[in-house]
């Protein structure tokens, strides 16, 4: 089969289109047997870039195909699984998705509703599971206001759409006009620019009180202002540090204003509280089935052009999920 493969950990330039043998056995991180997918669309994300440079701890032996997410049609499924041959599915694969066939992990695979394209399916699992779980951990209630940092990014844009589905009011923070446009498209109630006086604007938008929640996949220097943007009793979900630097928090900032800061990482939590991933899967499946998830699709590549997909991520200019159309839709 054809796949985009890394034979060395040489970064984006090392990715090559190659003919390799179809995957055998089951996904090494999969639970529940061999689930093989005929890939129609694959998603490439930041962890793919890190993995291509050997900077990500979770990776297979070389050579391996890139692609953290896949959407396609089930070719082989375990007998006792919720999946059957012919099912349309969306799956987290961590690697191996930019290939004609890929192994999925049953515990991180969803049924793709007919209303969603394969490209949308390849943009579904990672961002939406993370965003939903973040909002769950901070106890989001209908009618509350959530500030979303990096709102045009993968987790950020998913958080906007889920916020809308849950009846939350969202305030999106973005760094460019193009990203502001994307945030609006994803349902942001308000959009503010990170290079403007956004903290003051947040206060004005909330009657001076601040927001009840912040979802922060960015970190960096903005963290302190995110805390300042919270109302008394507010909650902040730490989802990641795409801004590069890791914030330091002086905890007296939490004390008088009764703030909560909460780290969010679903797979770790599942080990402590089994059933966590299942709960998140069910929630995303329900939202997807109800037509409440559209996803933000970015640049698209054919399989032949797919080695360039990693470079696109490295330049950090793409808005939306980088998709490889392994089998272009008619």
């Amino acid at each position: 089969m054809r796949a985009v493969v890394l034979e060395t950990l040489g970064g984006p330039e090392a990715a090559r289109l190659a003919d390799i043998s179809a995957p055998e056995g089951q996904h090494p991180l999969g639970i529940g047997g061999r689930l093989l997918i005929e890939v129609h669309a694959a998603g490439v994300s930041f962890p793919d870039l890190l993995r291509s440079r050997g900077e990500y701890q979770m990776r297979p032996e070389l050579p391996f195909a890139i692609g953290a997410e896949a959407a396609g049609i089930v070719v082989e499924a375990p007998a006792d699984s919720p999946f059957a041959v012919g099912d349309r599915v969306a799956a987290l694969t961590h690697w191996g998705a930019v290939a004609e066939l890929a192994l999925a992990m049953p515990q991180h695979t969803l049924h793709l509703p007919e209303t969603m394209s394969f490209a949308q399916g390849a943009a579904l699992y990672l961002n939406y599971a993370t965003a939903w779980y973040a909002l769950h951990r901070v106890g989001a209630q209908t009618g509350e206001t959530v500030l979303v940092q990096g709102a045009a990014g993968g987790v950020g844009s998913a958080a906007l759409e889920i916020a809308q589905a849950l009846g939350l009011r969202s305030v999106a923070i973005v760094s460019t006009e193009a990203k502001a446009q994307a945030a609006r498209q994803m349902g942001a109630a308000e959009v503010l620019r990170s290079d403007g006086p956004w903290l003051e604007q947040v206060r004005t938008l909330t009657g001076g009180r601040g927001v009840q929640m912040v979802v922060d996949p960015v970190g960096g220097d903005r963290f302190l202002d995110s805390l300042r943007a919270l109302a008394i009793g507010g909650r902040l979900a730490v989802v990641g540090f795409t801004g590069g630097s890791i914030p330091e928090l002086k905890v007296n900032r939490l004390l008088l204003r009764n703030l909560t800061v909460c780290g969010v990482e679903m797979v770790q939590m599942d080990q402590e509280e089994p059933g966590t991933v299942q709960m998140v899967n069910a929630a995303i499946q329900t939202l997807a089935d109800a037509g409440q998830i559209t996803t933000l699709i970015g640049p698209r590549f054919t399989l032949a052009d797919a080695p360039r997909a990693l470079e696109t991520l490295a330049r950090r200019q793409a808005i939306g999920k980088v998709i490889v159309d392994v089998r272009p839709e008619a």
């Binding site: 009793g233 890791i246 330091e248 939490l254 204003r257 009764n258 909460c262 780290g263 770790q268």
Partner: protein, 328 residues
């Protein structure tokens, strides 16, 4: 009336016991509700010392009567309040308690159980309310294990009592053998010493997993180890910084292990969500009625020695509340 008066903001030396006018009107933080108490016992704690130096965020201009907590008998109560003249009560005054009469704050006042004397009543509200609110904000469930820093302190001992009542297992962290004894008396399931390998001991006591919750009134250098003592998904409640220094946390420590850090401050919470303090008071009185809360008295002095009460705080001598008997 006789009162312990802060004349100038120079610390305990600025306090003089003298005649002082009776309180007029309502306590400025009581929303116009005049609740006048005939004081039997007052309690002083760290904020009172800070107020005497002009270093506390909530205060008033001198001369003012010192004393943050009171127990006594109601003389006058608002018509529509839960209180009536003759009621035995205890609660917060923020200042004004070391005097023959004091203005109380109705939301911060509870009826004293018959079985509790005034001296213990004066030591009831602040520590119990803080401990209960912390346990509540951490959403402690029966069967969970909770690490209590500063477990022989005022909030710490109250927390041990609240946790035992809730069916949680407590691990007390204390700094001396005497404090270990106090923590055991107050119901700690396990006691570890802060100057020993307590983090390893906590892990050993929890089969290597760590605790579900940490309650931390201490702060300081121990904070990072408190985070390390948490199991995946654990919660830490920041109550205060009795240890002096304010900890800093690099937030990636929270990310992968799904940790939650929550601050608690009752007064701001009540401003934003009115009724919070009232609910806390109701919980405190319910626990006191059932005999769950037994405040500890560390020192007891007559009103004439009001300045000495603050000095004991300054020297950090007392294990337990410092009580000033206004009517012996």
């Amino acid at each position: 009336m006789r009162a312990a008066v802060i004349e100038e903001l120079t610390g305990p030396d600025g306090l003089r016991v003298r005649d002082f006018p009776d309180p007029v009107g309502a306590h400025p933080r009581a929303g116009g509700q005049r609740l006048l108490v005939e004081v039997h016992a007052a309690s002083v704690s760290f904020p009172d010392l800070l107020q005497s130096r002009g270093e506390y965020q909530i205060s008033t201009d001198p001369p003012f009567v010192s004393g943050g907590e009171v127990a006594g008998m109601v003389i006058e109560a608002p018509a529509d309040s839960r209180f009536a003249p003759g009621d035995r009560v205890a609660g917060m005054t923020i200042w004004g308690a070391m005097a023959e009469r004091a203005l109380a704050l109705p939301d911060y006042t509870v009826k004293l159980p018959d079985a509790m004397d005034y001296a213990h009543g004066a030591a009831l509200w602040l520590n119990s309310a803080t401990a209960w609110f912390a346990v509540q904000r951490a959403a402690v469930q029966p069967g969970e294990t909770v690490l209590v820093q500063g477990a022989a302190g005022g909030v710490g001992t109250a927390a041990l009592e609240v946790l035992k009542d809730r069916g949680a297992r407590s691990i007390a962290v204390v700094s001396s053998a005497a404090k270990a004894q106090v923590a055991r008396e107050m119901g700690a399931n396990d006691v570890v010493r802060s100057n020993g390998p307590w983090l390893e001991q906590v892990r050993a006591l929890t089969d290597g997993r760590g605790v579900e919750v940490v309650l931390d009134p201490v702060g300081g250098d121990r904070f990072t180890d408190s985070l390390r003592a948490l199991d995946v998904g654990g919660r830490l409640v920041v109550i205060g910084f009795a240890g002096g220094s304010i900890p800093t946390v690099k937030v990636n420590r929270l990310l992968l292990r799904n940790l939650t850090v929550t601050g608690i401050g009752l007064d701001p919470m009540d401003h934003r969500f009115p009724g919070t303090t009232r609910r806390v008071s109701e919980a405190v009185v319910a626990l006191a009625d059932r005999g769950v809360l037994r405040p500890r008295i560390g020192a007891r002095l007559p009103l004439e020695q009001g300045a000495e009460a603050l000095r004991i705080l300054e020297r950090r001598e007392a294990v337990g509340n410092i009580i000033v008997d206004v009517r012996a």
